[in-house]
Symmetry: C2
Subunit: 755 residues, 2 copies
């Protein structure tokens, strides 16, 4: 409210300058203006951050670009392109080269089409400055070239390598929908220089200890438990000590020297304390510190960007009302209908009430800017309903016996009683089920569960009974099928989780774990990307070198995985033959085992034996990238999530929006369930637009589904937004993109923030 119209206008121009390209004029027609504003709000609501041109044509293309069909299609193409590795040599299911190459060309065309579409939406100078677009284009080109070369060589019967397959994850990372994955990779890239210095110091320490080990043990001629020489060659020593950092060969690597003299143990203990404990913790500290720094910077960018977009939307639609600019109520309603077409009328009415004073017919600037957040809060509209049986036979349903039954079912003791039943059932599952008594007891349990379900159906409305929170009831329905016996076993045991969920103290931890899940998907993306690259390289290097033969195979070297050199190696003795790179699935499982670290040196040595000693470098590289970088980022992320949850539980941060909804007196508190049955009628739009203002509203209530809002990102963003004063519109777009994490640290650290 502190700024005059003149400044506001110049702001719009200033803000648009960067994103306004050559073709098309800005929207002037009211409908087109609305469309443009809706695009801004949409962009702010979902944090998409796609700079688009303001011409009506570009805005329509922007909508089309963000349409869910287009997004799903893009993801399908990415999935198909990545999944091609399943069908290409070495394949899980071999398909002819022609089939896979036609599919690949189709995917590449789709990616190219998506890119062209994006170039029409976004201003030309922005498009060509963005490295991710260039990157995708180069990748498409390289993929095509490689495909053509490989195809022609196949025709000429010359064996070749499809080297460009390692580039495929670039599509997953660089298409605009994968913002979070891209952010994680940016964070990794920014952390690299600092990690590098620690890594060099760490490698220096490993090398020095290797030198010492060689000098100490060389002349002793010890042999290991497997009868191999002990620290005889320098490189072998470096590898052994590097493996010791991962603890995978502890204490075996120490035993020969320790058997000779107890004092040699000091050497290894000193090594482990320094390199395993201290250096690995320092890696975590460096990664965590940088992750936190960059996360904060990105969140700040997002928050400013959102504010900026909402200001643009406001400036597009504003009309003058007295001394200030506002949005008229009809325009506001049309805009919300356009941005969020699937919310109910009563919900929209609620949002309007939150945004304006009762007496006004317009929405002010501050309230308008909050619209994106308002739309993000999932509100469940609920209404009291009667049980169907009550409608059909009210007398019977309302008689004394029926009321008693329902009171019993609603009582807490009923839940506890069935928790006990589940526990007893669990004990019976653990018992030997060949015992006839046990299998008879299974039938008793089954009937008890059926009775429970029937009683609950009788008491609760069937629609609320099958709602998401009642997941545990479903597990019974699959109970008696014989075909999918293994899955049923797992589901039966899952019922036990219900008990945990009923204890308040555990539910807090469980909720935090569940809140972490959405961002875990980002990590799945990162892990998938890196696994894919290593799997493709691994398959090219190691395919068909190691083969798994079933137990009763007649193959001469079946015990040695089909490779004579592996005979008597730890690899063959541990029966690791199925850990190979003969198809994408096997390769992924080997990479999981390498991530877990234990026994990775056995795998590395095995693959080195069947190919070349230098193959160990592949495994060391994987360890450095995945265990030192990625897993530490994962740990940093979980730590951060818990700290944010902890600090919020203490202070009860509530946004102004949530407060306002509660002020209206129509909020259902989370966890509180009124005596009647409430039904979510989110998609039930039969109410007229005016019914909301009618005073009584016949038991209409709103519940904020706040859990969804509680991802770490959203919490941090909310924290940061609470610190931007309402009149601050943030720096201009270009400056926002260039904000550096170091700007955050200008002020002195205080005791509370640093400690």
């Amino acid at each position: 409210m502190s700024e005059g119209p003149a400044k506001s206008d110049s702001d719009v121009n200033g803000g648009n300058n960067g994103t306004r390209g050559g073709c098309g004029a800005a929207a002037q027609d009211p409908e087109e203006k609305l469309l443009l504003a809706a695009a801004y709000v949409y962009d702010a609501q979902y944090n998409r951050n796609i700079p688009f041109e303001t011409s009506p044509q570009a805005v329509r293309l922007y909508y089309f670009y963000n349409h869910w069909v287009m997004q799903v299609a893009t993801y399908i193409c990415i999935t198909v392109d990545l999944a091609l590795a399943i069908f290409e040599e070495p394949a899980v299911y071999q398909l002819p080269f022609l089939a896979t190459s036609i599919v690949e060309v189709f995917c590449l065309l789709a990616f190219f089409g998506r890119l062209v579409h994006f170039s029409k939406v976004t201003p030309r100078n922005v498009f060509w400055k963005d490295t991710k677009n260039i990157c995708v284009m180069v990748t498409i080109f390289l993929n095509l070239i490689d495909l053509i070369i490989y195809g022609s060589l196949i025709v000429a019967h010359i064996p070749s390598v499809r080297w460009s397959r390692v580039l495929r994850p670039i599509y997953l990372v660089n298409f605009a929908e994968s913002r979070q994955i891209r952010r994680a990779f940016r964070s990794i890239r920014n952390t690299l220089p600092e990690i590098l210095y620690v890594f060099l110091l760490f490698m220096f320490s490993v090398l020095i200890f290797s030198l010492m080990a060689q000098k100490l043990f060389e002349s002793r001629n010890f042999i290991t438990a497997e009868g191999e020489p002990y620290f005889q060659s320098f490189l072998e020593g470096v590898f052994n000590l590097y493996v010791l950092v991962t603890t995978a060969n502890s204490p075996d690597v120490m035993m020969p020297a320790y058997d000779f003299s107890g004092w040699y143990a000091i050497f290894f203990i000193a090594y482990i304390i320094l390199n395993t404990y201290i250096f690995m913790s320092v890696f975590l500290a460096v990664v965590y510190n940088n992750y936190r720094k960059h996360l904060k910077n990105e969140i700040r960018k997002l928050a400013y960007m959102k504010r900026r977009k909402m200001v643009e939307a406001f400036n597009t639609l504003k009309i003058q009302e007295g001394s200030e600019f506002v949005i008229s109520e009809p325009t506001w309603l049309k805009l919300v209908k356009m941005v969020a077409p699937d919310i109910s009328n009563s919900h929209r009415e609620l949002l309007l009430r939150v945004s304006k004073e009762d007496s006004q017919r317009y929405v002010g600037k501050d309230a308008f800017i909050r619209l994106a957040d308002l739309l993000n809060i999932r509100v469940i509209t609920m209404k009291a309903r009667m049980h169907p049986l009550e409608c059909w036979m009210p007398h019977l349903y309302r008689c004394a016996v029926s009321r008693f039954i329902r009171r019993v079912v609603l009582h807490k003791g009923f839940i506890y009683a069935f928790d006990v039943v589940i526990l007893v059932n669990a004990i019976f599952i653990a018992l030997d089920d060949k015992n006839p008594l046990v299998s008879k007891a299974e039938w008793v349990f089954l009937s008890l569960y059926v009775i429970e379900i029937l009683l609950k159906l009788y008491t609760y409305d069937p629609r609320s009974f099958f709602a998401k929170s009642q997941f545990w009831n479903w597990t019974v329905s699959l109970y008696n099928s014989q075909e999918i016996l293994d899955i049923v076993f797992i589901l039966r045991v899952l019922r036990l989780i219900r008990i945990i969920d009923s204890i308040q103290r555990f539910r807090v931890i469980m909720n935090t774990l569940i809140n972490i899940l959405p961002t875990m998907l980002t990590f799945c993306g990162i892990i998938l990307t890196i696994y894919y690259v290593f799997a493709i390289i691994g398959m090219e290097l190691f395919k068909h070198k190691i083969t798994f033969f079933p137990e009763n195979s007649t193959e001469p070297h079946a015990e040695a995985c089909g490779a004579e050199v592996l005979k008597d190696s730890s690899f063959a003795k541990s029966k690791y033959c199925k850990n190979n790179f003969n198809n994408l699935g096997s390769a992924f499982i080997v990479l999981v085992e390498l991530t877990v670290v234990n026994q990775w040196h056995v795998l590395a040595t095995g693959f080195a034996l069947v190919t070349h000693p230098a193959a160990k470098l592949f495994f060391i590289a994987f360890h450095v990238v995945v265990v030192i970088m990625i897993i530490n980022i994962f740990v940093a992320f979980i730590l951060e999530a818990f700290f944010v949850e902890y600090s919020l539980e203490k202070s009860e941060v509530e946004t102004a929006i949530e407060k306002k909804i509660q002020e209206l007196g129509m909020a259902v508190q989370a966890g509180y369930i009124p005596t009647g049955n409430l039904v979510d009628n989110m998609d039930n739009c039969e109410n007229g637009p005016g019914d909301f203002g009618d005073g009584n509203q016949k038991g209409l209530m709103f519940q904020i589904a706040s859990k969804r809002y509680r991802t770490v990102d959203a919490l941090l963003q909310r924290m940061f937004e609470a610190e931007i004063p309402p009149e601050d519109e943030g720096p201009p777009m270009e400056d926002i993109m260039n904000l550096s994490p170091n700007d955050l640290y200008i002020e002195n650290p205080t005791f509370n923030s640093a400690a």
Copy 2:
């Protein structure tokens, strides 16, 4: 300065009420007042926090209690008492029971004496309220009872167990000198409830997965690579899956099922993601969060306590000067001489300059309160000195050739040249030293090093050459001894660290690592305590069950560690026979191996085979206590240390004290060395008291040895103190002791502190 004398007086009484016992009156005589004030300052300076009575007798006993001889004697007694386990059955060096029991009784008497001494220093009600005193008393009593019972049973030839030996670490933890260890244990105890809930959830998940595994694999009758049954019994399954959390049996535990069908891998991968990655990170998050919370609370207590003690000291000595109370200059000088008798006159003069205005003859309250910090800053007094050769033969030493030589040695290129020599030497060490050329090259390197030392001795003052920073030069002196060849090898390689130390970027990381060292000693204490308890229990459970026989032994079961049941077990096959509990040294090494985790299930199974399957509980308990609790606290500590270092590097926090010293223009900046030779004359007190004010001071300079001040504790304390306003004297003593970490979180978290 904001308070009148009346309020100040009532404060003293209020503050003393809690600590003033029955016997003896407070000091009235000026000498006794000085003694009392000095005791307060001493207590504040070293953060000892021993509440003492104010009677002159108690103050003298307080000094005697804190005398270094008494402290060293206490530590020696604790060490001897703990070391007794080396000589008791099962012993490294067996001593007769009579000898060890006499030594033990002597130690117990010493502990009792120390306790009695402490009870004379501290007010009676405080003494009897303090659990640590009660704890020590009970332990002494139990130790004596156990000793008597065991002794009489030995006389009657009845075998018995010295069960009270596990209590011995209580002395290490509970004697007042081990404040840091006690704090760490307090932090562990406070974290327990929160850890417990996560642990229950975690064990619940392990049990559910075990149930599922049993149902999935029971009927398949798989066998492991060692030919053992696979998930046939429930308890065996729980153990296997618990081991999988520690990754020690990955991927072996998966292989039999995975060989049968690739889909079973999903079960194990899901298990690892949930339990190994997510739950273990949650443990770290919970431990770290609590560690941070309690650390901050303890630091706050310390800071308030220090402030309080300094106020008491001020109130004891204050005289009225105009409208305010001050300390006169002679009193101040006497006090400092009493508190820190070993600092030089010029240093004391510097401190006085820092504490008062030049025109004043007294020290104000604010400046006086800073005295404890002032005394904690180690100031090195330096003076320019001539080279001895310059004194003896000035003509020769100052001639052109000599000057040229010295210029060359002082040049940076000289250091670089010898860094190259060291690197080349390292490469030669790595080469095969049976080669005659290599061993000849060794002589060349040796002569080069000797020349380097001679040149440096010629250029630098011998006293500065042998100072601590020139450590790398020493390594040569041991170079040619044949006896301690192994140590020499290590020292030769250590010279390489010199190269690292000369690169700025690495030095920052190295400095942080070095700053962590003092607090690492605390962790050594904690680890020692817990190892000791487990070692004693382990020795009682497993002594002489497993025996190590040298390679050429004729013992029938030498290969099976002397126990027939171990034949063909993984334990014997891996040649782990020397990993036993047959004496304290072996037990400690086994515990280190268990801490490193890898192969711990092999050790656990081995010891379970020779005793009882329940023996595995001992190893699981060790894992829970050490790996889940202690190692996570260690990681939390390193993370915190790095974060504090990082946040300080950005903001250059400098205390007012350091600034004032620099204002005087007599500070030598760290790293800067003037062209002349500076000699530390800390203990050189021949200067008269007035020489400091004489204007020129003949090149006298001060250097703040700030590194020592940079432990994490001290940094945090400094941060917190910077936030207490100078006039805040903190809450009264009793309230300080009861401050809760939850009080810290009253304010809302901000974006910067939470993220």
